[in-house]
């Protein structure tokens, strides 16, 4: 173990809620092989090895295990996209958790690395993958050390490597440390990074990883939490899994809460039934806001999700209900803002992050996100004008054309605009830079107009509306 201490976020567990992935979090030595084996560890892969791979695959498909990385796509279905008969094929574990507000995967890797390793083995067995790459974000030093130690222990004990449990099944797991780029959390950028290239996303199609992924071979990219669910599913069966939560969103999921709550941390909540109100105000969870404060807004699914207001508090963690209300569950991060929050400043904080993390590949994201940040900064520091507010929407529309999703505001009669959005970029980083700006300006327009009102006279000095030369220049035939 490292001689230095690495602060890590608290993981809390609600008393009587079902526990799937956090079951060992109470033990101080939860990350050791001894503790893991003493608490049913590696029984899932043992159970899997007794069945055919197709059988295991069906079990996972029947469990309707939704991907926990952000998109929420069923893992069992994703596995089925591998073209038959094409080898080798790879498993890539996306441990590059870097969405603002999200730190659940980090805890899973720090506190229960063997559970992740066992999940990898099960996935590899089910889909016939002989090599697994565990990509862990560069900044997560403790997670890397614990996973590395766990891998060494598992190799030594024969749980990973050749002829696992005396069967024909062999898998190698390679640990790879990222270099610190948010966009590498996007699966195609992660693959590029793993190949040794700059972490820049590839366009889908043709680069759907399941068909053309790492080194051009079929590749399954799964999130850490998704894989961590597999040992439990194999041990208890799909039906036990689907008995928890709702039919469309079974099981549990980990949610990282940050912001103005009494007890910020990671919680394992029940999918589909736990509501945001339970999470934020429940005594077993965050225990409400700071004394005397009221909820102003919250981000329901990581920094790139459009914001919600108290009107959406009673929505459950159920993708089919969140989407129509104008946001997404995303990466399982809830950021809570009470009434002391300076909304434009909060939006600026998030937008600044995405502008900084843009990989630079697509023009709208590279140039647009930075421009958004600069306009918003102007508005925040009191030198913006009313025209800048229009400009924010217009620049945003260049990154994400059409109406951007947002929550409804009942008192203003504003109907929600459902998910998803359109985008002119390859990946979601560009629209993510716009999401906080759009949410903040749509849900709290008065905070912005108040900032720019004193400068309204400055706009009058510029030619009103439209182009100085009377509109777009007529079309000219050109060739590159």
């Amino acid at each position: 173990m490292a001689s230095y201490t690495v602060a890590h976020a608290p993981g809390f567990v609600a008393n009587d809620a079902p526990r799937i992935v956090t079951q060992r979090f109470d033990h101080p030595d939860s990350y050791t092989l001894e503790r893991y084996l003493a608490t049913g560890g590696y029984e899932g892969i043992r159970a899997a090895l007794g069945r055919s791979p197709q059988d295991v695959h069906s079990e996972v498909r029947d469990a309707t295990l939704l991907g926990r990385g952000g998109a929420g796509f069923p893992a069992g279905v994703k596995w089925g996209f591998c073209p038959p008969g094409v080898w080798p094929r790879y498993l890539v574990v996306n441990g590059d958790e870097s969405e603002p507000g999200t730190y659940k995967d980090r805890l899973l890797m720090e506190l229960d690395p063997h559970q992740l390793i066992e999940g990898c083995l099960i996935a590899c067995y089910a889909v016939g993958l002989s090599q697994c790459f565990l990509y862990i974000r560069g900044e997560m030093v403790l997670a890397q050390e614990r996973v590395a130690q766990a891998l060494n222990d598992a190799y030594a004990a024969g749980w990973v490597g050749r002829n696992i449990c005396g069967t024909e099944f062999s898998v190698d797991i390679v640990l790879h440390s990222g270099a610190g780029a948010y966009v590498v959390g996007e699966e195609t950028a992660l693959i590029e990074s793993l190949e040794g290239n700059r972490g820049m996303p590839r366009l889908k199609p043709p680069f759907f990883p399941a068909a053309v992924g790492l080194y051009g071979q079929p590749t399954i990219v799964n999130n850490v939490e998704t894989l961590a669910n597999l040992p439990w599913i194999l041990r208890h069966g799909a039906s036990a899994f689907t008995a928890i939560g709702t039919p469309t969103s079974p099981g549990t999921r980990m949610v990282a809460v940050s912001g103005h709550v009494n007890r910020a941390g990671v919680y394992e909540i029940t999918n589909g039934t736990t509501t945001f109100r339970d999470l934020i105000y429940g005594d077993d969870y965050c225990g409400g806001l700071r004394p005397g404060r009221e909820l102003k807004a919250f981000v329901p699914g990581g920094g790139s999700a459009p914001w919600f207001t108290p009107a959406q508090l009673d929505l459950p963690f159920e993708a089919s209900q969140i989407g129509p209300q104008g946001s997404m569950l995303g990466s399982g991060a809830v950021m809570v803002m009470d009434d002391t929050t300076d909304i434009p400043a909060a939006a600026l904080t998030l937008t600044k992050f995405y502008a900084h993390e843009s990989c630079g590949k697509c023009v709208p994201c590279r140039e647009g996100a930075t421009w958004l940040e600069r306009i918003l900064r102007r508005v925040c520091n009191g030198t913006g004008t009313p025209r800048d507010l229009d400009l924010l929407f217009e620049v945003g529309a260049t990154i994400s054309p059409g109406e951007f999703p947002h929550a409804g505001v009942p008192e203003r009669g504003l109907e929600p605009k459902p998910f998803p959005y359109q985008m002119t970029t390859i990946c979601f980083v560009g629209p993510s830079a716009y999401a906080p700006v759009h949410s903040a300006m749509t849900l709290f327009p008065e905070e912005f107009t108040a900032r720019v009102a004193p400068n309204a006279h400055l706009d009058a000095q510029v030619a009103p509306g439209g182009s100085v030369n009377g509109g777009p220049i007529s079309e000219v035939a050109v060739r590159v």
Partner: protein, 832 residues
């Protein structure tokens, strides 16, 4: 440019119907929407897309609304292949807004310094902003700033403020050239293109990045601030710097060549050029060009013993053409029968070569003609072997490389073969004395000692090696060349014998190096050959009728001519752009030949080493100054453009031949270059189509030969000298020829020559890499550094021929099959 495979709309069951802007278009499966649209006449604006490179979808300029049944979505048309029932709208409101948005964003950090930008006037960013842009910007902030142009190599400057990060240059360097010396650094808004620290962009192909840059971010040092695009005159032509024959656009301003651009033709260069070809125009306007005929002053001409002693300015006096040509004709008429010889002719046009071929045979009555200086394959093989095209080589099941390093000798052929190997359309197998630029991408790479390629191949094909089976089935193209001038041409010819005997279906792409050497040989500038790839002994009827009586005996080749001259048997020696003193492998023989010939007449653009020793110098017109045709190594005949006037009274070689014929009492029968082109087409069956507009663009492939070449018998490998190292003299791109030395942009790129040996051999020599040593052959010695290079086969020592500052030819005896040398180290400080 003209792309015959996609220009015609494909039809038939294997096509996909897509609707583009309301019009149904038949597209090929897998074709990208942007390409299908362009073929259908709908231009979708783009910056990063380039049809010769893989798409990246980076600039987002080509976003159009594509509906695949799930409603219209903005998609990058450079990344999306056509699909059934696809509807594309390139003019919708959403498309228009996306285009305006992308252009506004591209311009927010662009410096808009168009007024002082070389690209202004031909800039895709400028043009597309006018056509698709929003009209005005709403950006009021400070723009991104970088240091204004930084030189990233001796040839290329980079202005990162103008750069729009389209990934074209970096993709080219990585994918096409295979020399990824530039790449993106930093991230997001700070992303920039840069070289690696301390490593300049020293690619042989760096100029292409300038040409494909869609803004003025990359500029070429020789062209910077030289002209504005709207002031340029231009004509299409073919580069004759080497024998690949890349199609180019030649551009001039105020009667001075200022820029060459590659033209994309499918069969040859795909739009790419090497830097030597691209920037070679500098030599055309060199102040050292000779602009008037020169005649040696009588006192210096008589003093043959003063060989090389006097300065050209003292040695020569300017004379007018009449005096000069009269002097030549007097020397010709005074010459003994069979004592006139013509060396060279590979630098000119086909018309030049034809005129001199005809002059030599019908007026000078000699067959002592040779366009090669003992540096190529025997002429009969060059014109007579069953030929393959570059495309054939790129699409053969196996392409066998038995030649020098193509990256150094024929750079764009190297690019084509590299691209083919990368696309898996062929597999490369090379048998070379040292690693080449293609070694890393070759399926198999065999090393041989100098001069032993034939025996290595014979052992492979006759033994248990799977190669013989692999070659037995499937198409085979052999790229055959001289990997070294320090071994006899028979060694390369023997490779043809070995392969033809065992793989009869193999075809050959002869890697001739000099600009138009193939054209010169096709026109009969070799002993025993006549125009149209015919033998002197069996002249075609039309040619015999037109030319009349021909020399009875086959004449000497270059070596024979120089040997005869050395023996006092040559009275008049014509040098047609040939410089034996600098360019013939055996320096001693060259010196003896030039000094012993009674009258040396040089027809050249510069006072080369040999021309400086001439008795009469006739200034010739250079590339870009004359029209005509040229032939590349495949036998592809294409038209040359003339754009600028020759300096002074310099004139084309063919014109000199025609005038000389008249003074000698003959008449070649033509007064324009076009008449010669027509005469060639009329008299040569191989060139019957090589006339008129067909010579533009792709040109005309002259095929066939009137005879089967006689292949030399297979011999045994030359005996090894147990003590010595085998000398391998290949070529470097930036050599000591006039193209490089007279081009200001290129002359500094020459590298110091060094002996390269395998590290184990260097250990045997017993000195550290970089130590100066003496290399001795039976003929002579040179002093230069020796360096370790694991790419050199054991037993070989590699030294580039015609390298700057040394005369490698002093080591070479042209009569020896191979040259074995020994390395001597001297104790420092001790004198001889």
């Amino acid at each position: 440019m003209s792309d015959t495979t996609t220009a015609d709309a494909p039809t038939g069951p294997s096509t996909v119907e897509v609707t583009i802007d309301g019009v149904s278009v038949a597209a090929q499966p897998g074709e990208l929407v942007i390409a299908a649209a362009e073929r259908a006449g709908v231009y979708i604006p783009r910056f990063c897309y380039h049809e010769r490179m893989s798409p990246v979808g980076m600039c987002r300029m080509c976003l159009v609304e594509i509906d695949t049944g799930r409603g219209p979505q903005l998609q990058p048309s450079c990344m999306v292949p056509v699909g059934p029932n696809m509807t594309v709208d390139t003019t919708s409101e959403a498309t228009r807004r996306a285009q305006e948005g992308v252009l506004e964003l591209l311009l927010i950090n662009h410096p808009l310094d168009c007024a002082v930008c070389d690209k202004g006037g031909e800039c895709p960013l400028q043009d597309q902003t006018m056509a698709y842009g929003p009209g005005e910007s709403r950006f009021v902030e400070e723009k991104r700033h970088f240091e204004k142009p930084i030189p990233i190599s001796d040839l290329v400057h980079l202005d990162r403020e103008r750069c729009i990060l389209c990934d074209r240059c970096t993709r080219f360097a990585d994918e096409i050239a295979g020399e990824p010396l530039i790449d993106f650094v930093e991230r997001g808004n700070e992303t920039q293109v840069l070289t690696f620290p301390g490593e300049p962009f020293t690619s042989y192909f760096s100029g292409n990045t300038v040409q494909i840059c869609p803004v003025g971010a990359l500029t070429a040092a020789p062209y910077r601030f030289k002209a504005r695009p709207w002031d340029l005159n231009q004509t299409e032509s073919t580069c004759t710097t080497c024998a690949v024959g890349c199609r180019i656009v030649v551009q001039s301003s105020r009667n001075e060549l200022v820029r060459y651009l590659g033209v994309d033709i499918d069969p040859v260069n795909h739009g790419w050029l090497c830097d030597k070809g691209r920037f070679a125009f500098g030599s055309v306007h060199s102040p050292n060009r000779v602009t008037a005929p020169l005649r040696a002053r009588p006192e210096t001409a008589a003093a043959a013993a003063d060989f090389g002693a006097s300065e050209p300015s003292q040695r020569f006096e300017s004379v007018d053409w009449t005096r000069a040509l009269t002097a030549v004709s007097e020397a010709v008429s005074a010459a003994r029968p069979g004592a006139i010889a013509v060396l060279g002719g590979a630098r000119g046009t086909n018309e030049d070569a034809y005129a001199w071929s005809k002059l030599a045979r019908t007026v000078l009555r000699t067959d002592h003609v040779d366009a090669q200086l003992a540096d190529g394959l025997p002429a009969e093989l060059v014109v007579g072997l069953r030929g393959a095209t570059i495309d054939d080589a790129c699409n053969a099941d196996t392409t066998l490389l038995v030649c020098g390093d193509l990256r150094e000798e024929l750079p764009v052929l190297h690019l084509r073969l590299r691209g083919a190997a990368r696309a898996n359309t062929t597999r490369l197998i090379e048998v070379t004395p040292a690693e080449t630029g293609l070694t890393r991408i070759a399926t198999r790479s065999e090393r041989c000692r100098g001069g032993e390629a034939a025996s290595v191949l014979r052992d492979l094909l006759d033994g248990d090696d799977p190669l013989s089976e692999e070659l037995a089935s499937g198409s085979v193209v052999v790229v055959l060349g001289r990997s070294s001038v320090a071994e006899s041409a028979d060694a390369a010819a023997e490779v043809a014998s070995v392969i033809t005997a065992r793989v009869p279906h193999a075809r050959f792409l002869v890697a001739s190096r000099r600009g138009n050497v193939r054209g010169a040989l096709d026109m009969g500038l070799a002993p025993g050959l006549l125009p149209g790839r015919a033998r002197l002994a069996e002249p075609p009827a039309e040619l015999a009728a037109a030319w009349g009586e021909l020399p009875a005996d086959v004449g000497h080749d270059a070596t024979g001519i120089l040997a005869a001259a050395a023996a006092g048997e040559i009275d008049v020696l014509f040098l047609l752009g040939a410089d034996p003193l600098g360019d013939y492998p055996d320096s001693l023989l060259a010196r003896l030949g030039i000094s012993s010939a009674q009258t040396v007449v040089a027809v050249d653009t510069f006072l080369t080493q040999s021309a400086a020793e001439a008795d009469i110098f006739l200034p010739a017109a250079a590339f870009g100054e004359k029209s005509g045709t040229t032939t590349n190594l495949e036998g592809r005949v294409s038209a040359l453009g003339d754009l600028v006037t020759p300096p002074g009274s310099a004139r084309p070689d063919w014109m000199i031949a025609a005038e000389l014929a008249v003074l000698c009492g003959g008449d070649l029968g033509f007064v324009t270059s076009d008449e010669i082109t027509a005469e060639i087409a009329a008299l040569c069956a191989t060139h019957a189509d090589a006339v008129g507009p067909a010579l533009e663009a792709d040109g005309v492939l002259a095929v066939g030969a009137a005879f089967q070449p006689a292949l030399p018998p297979e011999g045994s490998a030359p005996p090894r000298d147990g003590y010595g190292l085998r000398l391998v003299c290949g070529r470097t791109l930036y050599d000591d020829g006039v193209t490089v030395t007279q081009t200001p942009a290129l002359v500094g790129l020459r590298t110091e020559p060094a002996l390269r040996v395998h590290p184990v051999d260097l250990d045997r020599v017993g000195v550290a890499s970089g130590t100066e040593v003496e290399v001795h052959s039976d003929r002579g010695a040179l002093r230069l550094p020796i360096v370790a290079d694991a790419g050199v086969a054991r037993g070989n020592v590699v030294l580039p021929f015609n390298a700057a500052g040394i005369d490698v030819g002093v080591l070479i005896d042209i009569e020896a099959p191979v040259i074995d040398v020994r390395i001597e180290t001297r104790v420092p400080g001790r004198s001889n």
